[in-house]
Subunit: 201 residues, 2 copies
């Protein structure tokens, strides 16, 4: 998203390569059958280098999403004030949504690995607690209410539910983009969550 020097870009590539290798190996062999040594070898770095990026195997699997979260929050606060919180978050999320659409296979793997190992989801949650707190504050600021007044916490939870459900249904579907699934979910929220139209059987 931002202009990075060559060295930072190289670092970002190594980090991404480690996460990709970790997800691929765990997806193929199972969580317990993969070591930090395996992941490092697959990403063509030493275990010593691995530990410059991640403290544990679980961390490499989860990856580091703080940069994406920061970009989204900054864009969200900068979107024109006439838009509502839920309209603004969709505009703000566009680059992150597009990046996920471009990495469909990586994300399918990530979702398979997370679904098979729910303890990783818990780790992800603990690590994203700071991002969530900051999103709640940003929502409060945009909406002009106190962050702990209830509504910003509800809104952040609903936004999380939109992205989680869209990720799951997109990973299973063929053809439609992640952006389609996200917009469909936000559409259901905007409509007040009426019952869905029943599947024709």
């Amino acid at each position: 998203m931002t202009d990075l020097g060559l060295r930072d870009r190289k670092k970002q590539q190594t980090r991404a390569a480690l996460t990709e290798a970790a997800l691929r190996l765990v997806d193929e062999r199972g969580l317990d059958a993969v070591t930090v040594e395996d992941i490092s070898a697959a990403a063509d770095v030493s275990p010593r280098t691995f530990f410059n990026y991640f403290a544990t195997k679980d961390e490499a699997l989860i990856g580091d999403h703080t940069a994406d979260d920061d970009v989204m929050r900054e864009r969200f606060l900068a979107v024109e004030p006439a838009l509502s919180v839920f309209e603004a978050i969709q505009v703000a999320a566009e680059p992150v949504i597009d990046a996920i659409d471009r990495e469909r296979e990586l994300w399918r793997r990530r979702i398979r690995v997370m679904t098979a190992n729910p303890e990783l989801v818990a780790g992800l949650m603990v690590r994203s607690a700071r991002s969530e707190r900051e999103l709640i504050e940003a929502i409060g600021r945009r909406a002009g209410v106190a962050p702990d007044s209830g509504w910003p916490v509800l809104a952040a939870g609903v936004i999380g539910a939109v992205f989680r459900s869209a990720l799951l249904s997109w990973a299973k579907s063929d053809g439609r983009t992640f952006a389609d699934h996200v917009h469909e979910a936000f559409g259901a929220i905007a409509a007040g969550m009426p019952d869905p139209i029943k599947d024709p059987k």
Copy 2:
């Protein structure tokens, strides 16, 4: 909720006393300063008895909510079919909401302890994964769509966000009941999550 024999009622009381003692001690002293021995002594049982109910200190703090989850899901499936999923869940949740309203001090403590120790929230999430899956299935069944079609996952996530945000704002507020906070949050969902009315400053 259900008719229990004397022995089961006694067990339930011991379990509740252990959770209450655990929350009180951790709230007063901090997570690391409280042992299973402390909790057992405060609840007037032996550590051996403690381990008949909970495998770890964290489990005692989290408590066992599966009974409540089961009651809510069964009621949800039994509510008259004319009601929408979001109307039905509010009817189904009434006894659980009332029970929380009656135990305000315990819940305030629980929320303080969880907020101070986010790793407990992750443990709660892992332990409630089964309940969430079952709720998603129940929602799919009531709405007449496949559980993995996206909408039931979104609906379960939104319901979770409603209860979490209502718990947090109720624990901080004075006067209004938990039921009031839950209904306010469901009202915001039904209205399509428009921006809140700004706080007069």
